[in-house]
């Protein structure tokens, strides 16, 4: 444990590790000193001059983002002097600011709006004309509105220090200074540039994908886990009208800090795709499908299963399914008569490492739960583009179960030799035509559950969207079937499903949802203190602000 330093901030005694800045220390008493250039994940140039606070004994106000605490220091963040200095600085920020909040995408989550409302002047005094830059395409997903920029250089420092690909710089001087790319080389082709939109405190850098789509205050935020690779970046799904509108990283210093890659950030449209399976479909003897209630469909399925001689199972799972879903599938396969479960998952050629935070990379496995499927003894088959490898399943004569794999590359007669073919999916598929029962399941954005990332960290996600029609989480469906077959009670909540699974799988070591919390825990480390949670102090409060 680092040496502790005691100081007084706004009359409150605070003790923080030596070397902490005043700004971070103030977060402990829930005081956020306004600031632009400071970001916990970047260096601190102390150039925005907004975080000035009064320190007793100091001859002039000090920038709290770079002033480290000293023993017995008395800091006043809300004194008349401190507020007066910040008010003055804020007025300078508005000298050239267009204040076009009505058409600015940042409106509602803008640090300039917030701070001016909090501490700025009520009325502007400027009468001079403002300088105008217009907007510029920075390439990739980023648009730049130069007039709104507050010259904090967070974006420049992100590209230099974290992505370590110097694409942005400050050109010109004085009030004409502006952020720019180098000639025609924009951000196109870099893999982490979406983060500069997140860290830009104002609406100067905005996402083309999100441009004008929704208002910040209309969006609901649901904590989730990125499902686009096995890194398992913690994210927030921003939803409105039951659609995901954008994905933002959620701070977790053990996994992704404040960042996420562009591949995952822009890979959300699939959660909004319509034309979903909405009711269980049961195939009659003539081959026509009828929509049935869950009760009838499952009864029909069990009846068919009990009439079978060959009850060996070949199952196809998906590495996009949650641990709970996969665990319930494994249980059901066991309850039927045992068999083999395989899964296919796409693989990229190389990892894309974030150089300034090397434990974060877009991993080669492009599905979130490859590790979880592996822990459950499921075997990976097929090529790197997730095709092929299902020969032994396609012609199996016992029971065939497909969970979450759309079978896009498989022929229409897939599973036609099976005594019972159960297809659980979100969308119908040509290869599901021979299925005796088609059961509608939810995506990870519509259910509660966990993924196990590449290093074995089990992380929870929460439902952000409403499930269509009668679609249900796969663990609930498979658990109900398993309960019928074995006579034991099935899980009623995702927490129960996970607790059962974690008892059955020694690698998970008895973890529960409470152990996982919002940040996850590495499988097999229950009771141990893992990771760097909580440091640097108060980083969570900052992350919430982006």
């Amino acid at each position: 444990m680092a040496e502790l330093v005691k100081l007084t901030i706004d009359g409150h005694e605070v003790s923080v590790p030596k070397g902490t800045t005043i700004l971070e220390a103030a977060k402990q008493i829930d005081t956020l000193v306004p600031h632009y250039c400071y970001h916990p994940g970047l260096s601190s140039p102390a150039m925005c001059r907004l975080c000035l606070v009064e320190v007793e004994g100091a001859p002039k106000p000090l920038p709290s983002c770079v002033t480290t605490v000293t023993e017995g220091q008395v800091v006043k963040t809300q004194s008349e002097e401190a507020l007066g200095h910040r008010k003055g600085v804020l007025e300078f920020y508005l000298v050239n600011h267009p204040l076009d909040c009505p058409i600015c995408d940042m409106s509602g989550e803008c640090d300039l709006q917030d701070y001016v409302h909090l501490e700025g002047r009520k009325h502007g005094r400027g009468i001079e004309p403002k300088r105008v830059f217009g907007r510029d395409d920075f390439g990739g997903d980023v648009l730049f509105y130069g007039d709104r920029c507050v010259m904090c250089t967070r974006c420049v420092r992100f590209m230099n220090e974290v992505e370590q690909d110097e694409c942005l710089t400050v050109v010109e001087r004085g009030n004409r200074s502006v952020i720019d790319t180098f000639f025609d080389e924009g951000l196109e082709g870099t893999h982490w540039h979406g983060n500069v939109v997140d860290i830009c405190p104002v609406g100067a850098l905005v996402s083309k994908d999100f441009l004008y789509k929704a208002r910040a205050w209309d969006l609901d935020h649901t904590p989730s886990v990125c499902a686009s690779c096995s890194q398992g970046c913690n994210v927030l799904l921003h939803t409105r009208d039951n659609l995901v509108h954008r994905v933002k990283p959620r701070e977790n210093l053990d996994v992704n800090a404040w960042w996420m890659c562009d591949h995952g950030r822009l890979d959300y449209e699939w959660m909004n795709v319509g034309d979903r399976l909405e009711a269980p479909l049961v195939r009659g003897n003539e081959g026509t499908r009828t929509a049935k209630s869950w009760k009838d469909a499952l009864a029909d399925l069990l009846e068919r299963a009990s009439a079978l001689d060959d009850k060996s199972v070949r199952a196809v799972a998906s590495a996009r399914a949650s641990n709970e879903d996969l665990g319930a599938l494994a249980e059901l396969v066991g309850a039927f008569g045992g068999g083999e479960t395989v899964f296919r998952s796409p693989r990229a050629e190389e990892e894309i490492v974030l150089k300034g935070f090397p434990t974060l990379a877009r991993r080669t496995d492009l599905a979130p739960n490859v590790k979880g499927a592996g822990l459950l003894g499921m075997k990976r088959v097929g090529a790197d583009d997730a095709t092929g490898g299902l020969e032994s399943v396609a012609g199996h004569s016992g029971i065939v179960v497909v969970l979450g794999d759309a079978l896009a590359d498989q022929p229409e007669d897939f599973g036609s030799k099976a005594g019972l073919y159960i297809y659980l999916g979100t969308h119908d598929s040509a290869a599901a035509q021979a299925a005796h029962v088609v059961l509608p399941i939810t995506t990870h954005a519509e259910q509660e559950g966990t993924f196990t990332n590449h290093e074995g960290r089990v992380q929870r996600f929460w439902p952000a969207l409403e499930a269509p029609g009668m679609a249900r989480p796969a663990w609930l469906i498979l658990g109900a079937l398993d309960a019928e077959l074995t006579g034991e009670a099935g899980p009623q909540t995702a927490a129960e499903a996970f607790a059962e699974l974690s008892e059955a799988i020694p690698a998970l070591g008895g973890l529960t949802y409470e152990d996982l919390g919002t940040r996850g825990a590495v499988a097999g480390t229950k009771g141990a203190v893992v990771g760097t949670q909580g440091a640097p102090a108060g980083a969570a409060a900052q992350a919430a602000r982006g």
Partner: protein, 166 residues
Amino acid sequence: MSISVKVMQRPEPETTSYLRAALSGMALTFRHMINPVKVTQQYPEEQTQLSPRWRGTHVMEMHADGRPKCVACGLCPTVCPANCIRLVGGEDDQGNRYPIVYEIDEFRCIFCGMCQEVCPVEAIHVGQHFENAEYTRDRFVYDLDRLMEQDHPSTNLWDPSDPTGE
């Protein structure tokens, strides 16, 4: 304070004649026949003069080139207490923010005028108008084109010469 009960003195039914009351009523009627006092307005031949602050059917103001003034800022759907404005923003061919969908459900609207008050570009207005009968309910959801077509005068929520009301 104690509660007291007042006992009303009512005439006994058998002893009362209504003849006098009926006659005075008739007298009034005949007086009006001879000497009419005009209070009835002959609507619709005669139109009512609406107050400049009358809040009725909305009007969307337009630029000279026919584009709506609305910049899809999202403030009116946010402030609307009846939650009757539906807005989907987007980018037009000149790169401006504009409403792809802008609909007001005039049935749900309570004509509070807050949308007009909040609009930063003076685009949406409530109007001096009330005649909006229709044959079907769905016609009461006014889309952007219909709001721009409205040709009645828009409301003055405050006196232009004294905007702060002092």
